[in-house]
Amino acid sequence: MKRKDFLYLTGMGFGGAMLSRIPVIGAPISQEAALQGGIDVALKKRMADVALNAARSKGATYTDVRIGRYLREFVVTRENKVQNVVNTESYGMGVRVLADGCWGFAATDRMDNDSIARAAADAVAIAKENARLQSEPVQLAPQKGYGEVSWKAPIEKNGFEVPIKDKVDLLLKVNDTAMKAGANYVTSIIFLVNEQKYFASTDGSYIDQDIHRIWPTFYATKIDQKSGKFITRNALSAPRGMGYEYLMPRDSDKIKGMPTMLYRDRYDMIEDAGLAGLQTGQKLAAKSVEPGKYDLILDPTNMWLTIHESVGHPSELDRVLGYEANFAGTSFLTLDKWKSGKFNFGSKNVNIVADKTQPGSLGAVGYDDEGVKCGKWDIIKDGTLVNYQTIRDQAHILGLNASQGCCYADSWNDVQFQRMPNISLQPGKAPLTPSDMIKNVEKGIYIIGDSSFSIDQQRYNFQFSGQLYYEVRNGKIVGMLNDVAYQSNTQEFWNSCSAVCDERDYRLGGSFFDGKGQPEQVSAVSHGSSTARFNGVNIINTARKI
């Protein structure tokens, strides 16, 4: 599921205009089919062995097989109408081989023995053909086989088992609440994902995994017809690696006392919609920001995207090496900076970890897509760059004797490659709440929620916006602002980090659609943080007239 397909299925795209050249619309299935159990693990092992043996017989020196069944469900409503209920399924196999020192890959959705063997043979033929273009053979870090193992996301309630009617009722209540509070239009969506993935390799691993993700969201718009102005406030939910329990609110998961309600591990969608309805009116009436330097207090609902773009992507080793140079770009975090052991990425308050095991996160799995058990490690320690993110064919470049388990493919028909794990800013050690932090700010802006985001191809220059902007003067919130975007340089920005709230404020944000690679693939990843303060950041005014 690419981002543009999501936009199409949810009716949020350009009315199909951008997709009309080849009208492929995905692969919907029934609710009933989505509830059917996964493919029998013994059958998957048999199919995997067909591919492994076929590839070996054609001359592959290493082979891995991924059998994927990917279920997705969208429930889309608009005002008092159900716009779309779509269940999709994608099922097939991808075979990756090393032959003559070069990678080859082929995929098929025909799961009979002949088709599987043909895909394996095609992968070997491609590898052998391309080997003449290879400057040096692939070096694969050793990986022990785990035998037959499994991993399941620790969810409490499978969202696919919740009746569609319950989801529709919730979303229509969300829309009604937002409109009663002042919004003119509301689109709300529940998006569920279940990845049933099976991995097998010639190392001797047969790994069965069951992964769940959920993203409830809405877009509330208010229009002032007289002036022709309109404004939208999006949901403050985070997509999570959780079951439907995420939508069963608990008071203990609410962060109270701030200008709007904020949520930790459970989300009260109706409450947030009511606040959004009110806030669309407040946003329309808010004053336009005076550009200049401000101290920024960034809530985790905004912070996650800044972490993702300015820390997650530049610390991907494939970008550092140049593998993404033609599309997603390279990185300013070059190897010499890491080798020096002294590269000042940020202030001493900046501690950033990679973690593919974090419960409830979007990137949590037991094993990555080349059969490596997942773990946790430091990327930035006390402001200094200490590590990257690697996969098996990169580990030797860092002198590692094992991969860090960062390999992922968004479908069985895409080749796996390096993707970021959950990358998170660690909470401050001293007791500090967002209210305490605001008290110490003379001229600042408190930003909640994410919006527009853009960063250059080496991850220096960025510009981000938010959902709610509150002006802070002499330690107090004095009103709402509009037309705000912050621009900075990654290294300057993280060096301006003057405080991070403690773990009581720690929350996860994240994305379902982190794009990278050619052909482009998406991955889902979480980023945690507590509210953080950055001193003297450049604010621009984004208002224009046409």
Binding site: R21, A33, V82, D109, V415
Partner: protein
């Protein structure tokens, strides 16, 4: 199996319809074969081949719709899928905006250039040979290449119980190349996308990217601000597509579009940009052949979207058109913007002071009210003085609206076919010279 002929597709879809007991039934059927090579650091990084088909069955009872899919086409599998879609339709909530399926449509003749069998069936060797030509440029010029080549053959078809049938076959070859200097101080880019692999010259494109890379080392920093820019087609398309992709009537009518007017109504019929701007789509144009039908089965035909700077048409979904009492209009497929006769070099020669932009990157909407977008220049940005490129400059972040941009039009060059690095859609776009283009900050990225 993945690319079925019209007759093969028709036979399977007819069979599916013969099982239907619903008020209405519609079948969408598609398949593709594709192969690719990705390379970086002057060596192949990944490559692959994918083959897939999918049949989507939609059954409706009144305003209740059920949809299922399958990829096994024996009689039993098809009948089971039809039954399941009917069961689902009976359980589905009623959609008040549901529109009955279309009846038979008249489509224009399929452009013969839309599908080239040799392109659809390229071998791993053919792809490797095209990439080898590119890698040889890198080796000879002592530069580092990162590129991507992909060929695809596909079909899509549609048939319903009201007698509609549509079918198209497509082929596509896409290539993009970034060349960088070994010291990482220079970078250049080129990209193209065609239906016929004979049109794709990986050698020529790699040489262009190499020239830009070598020419862009020792870039100077100049102050951000408002500059005259020359946007090459690969740069211009990523801003223009956000303009022609936003011509939706419903958003405009509802007051949530840059086309909504204060007090109500839309700006349809208003002159919104420079009168030299003419943007249309035409599936029959041999320079950019596109599908004869849209995803919902409506015929695609020539439509003027912006004529002499005036918004001439908005696209209407079938539901919204019925509500507004107008003819439905699918969105544009394959956009063409008219231009002049001059080359990019001619535009440079006529520029006293300005900046040549090869590529724009990471384009994101900042404000839908004004269609304000932000993003950055990339892979070849040069300062022009007295009609000549004087020196490379560091990259900029811009904050600009395509509406404002097309009001600040200085000159248009000869349109070229290009492909968006953001949406991967093709268009025929002229190089554009624009005054007062807003660069808001500098970037050190190369």
């Amino acid at each position: 199996m993945a690319i079925l002929s019209q007759e093969e597709a028709q036979a399977l879809m007819k069979k599916a319809l013969s099982y239907s007991k619903a008020d209405e039934c519609e079948i969408n059927f598609s398949g593709s074969n594709s192969g690719n090579i990705r390379y970086a650091r002057n060596s192949v990084s990944t490559s692959g081949a994918v083959s897939t088909t999918s049949m989507v069955i939609s059954s409706a009872f009144g305003k209740k719709l059920g949809v299922v899919t399958l990829n096994e086409y024996d009689d039993k599998s098809i009948e089971t899928a039809v039954r399941r879609s009917e069961e689902l339709a009976q359980l589905a909530p009623e959609n008040p905006e549901y529109m009955p399926f279309l009846g038979p449509q008249t489509y224009g003749p399929t452009n013969p250039k839309l599908y080239d069998q040799k392109t659809a069936e390229m071998t791993p060797k053919q792809r490797a040979d095209m990439v080898e030509a590119s890698l040889n440029v890198a080796k000879e010029s002592k530069l580092t290449a990162a590129g991507f080549l992909q060929n695809t053959g596909s079909f899509s078809a549609m048939m319903n119980s009201h007698g509609l049938f549509a079918y198209n076959k497509y082929s596509d070859i896409n290539f993009s190349i970034t060349m960088r200097t070994p010291d990482s101080l220079g970078s250049g880019y080129a990209t193209k996308d065609y239906e016929d692999f004979n049109d794709m010259d990986t050698l020529k494109l790699t040489k262009i990217a190499a020239q830009k890379a070598s020419g862009s080392v020792t870039a100077k920093a100049i102050e951000p601000g408002k500059y005259t820019v020359i946007l090459e087609p690969a740069a211009g398309i990523v801003l223009l597509e956000n303009l022609y992709g936003s011509l939706d009537a419903r958003s405009a009518d509802e007051g949530r579009s840059f086309l909504s007017k204060a007090g109500g109504g839309t700006r349809l019929g208003e002159k919104l940009v420079d009168e030299r701007v003419n943007i249309y789509s035409d599936p029959a144009d041999p320079r950019l052949p596109t599908s004869t039908w849209s995803g919902d089965g409506q015929p695609q035909q020539k439509v003027n979207w912006i004529e002499k700077g005036v918004i001439k048409n908005l696209y209407y979904s079938r539901y919204w058109a019925q509500k507004k009492g107008v003819k439905p209009m699918p969105g544009p497929g394959g956009v063409i913007m008219e231009g002049g006769e001059g080359s990019i070099e001619d535009l440079i020669k006529s520029t006293e002071k300005g900046i040549l932009v090869t590529r724009l990157w990471y384009i994101r909407e900042v404000d839908p009210q004004t269609l304000l977008y932000t993003g950055l220049t990339r892979d070849g940005t040069f300062y022009i003085e007295n009609g000549q490129i004087k020196f490379p400059v560091k990259n900029f972040r811009f904050n600009e609206s395509p509406v404002i941009m097309l009001n600040n039009l200085e000159a248009l060059g000869k349109p070229e076919r290009t492909v968006s690095g953001e949406s991967f859609q093709s268009a025929l776009i002229p190089p554009m010279k624009i005054r007062d283009f807003t660069f808001s900050s500098l970037s050190d990225a190369v």
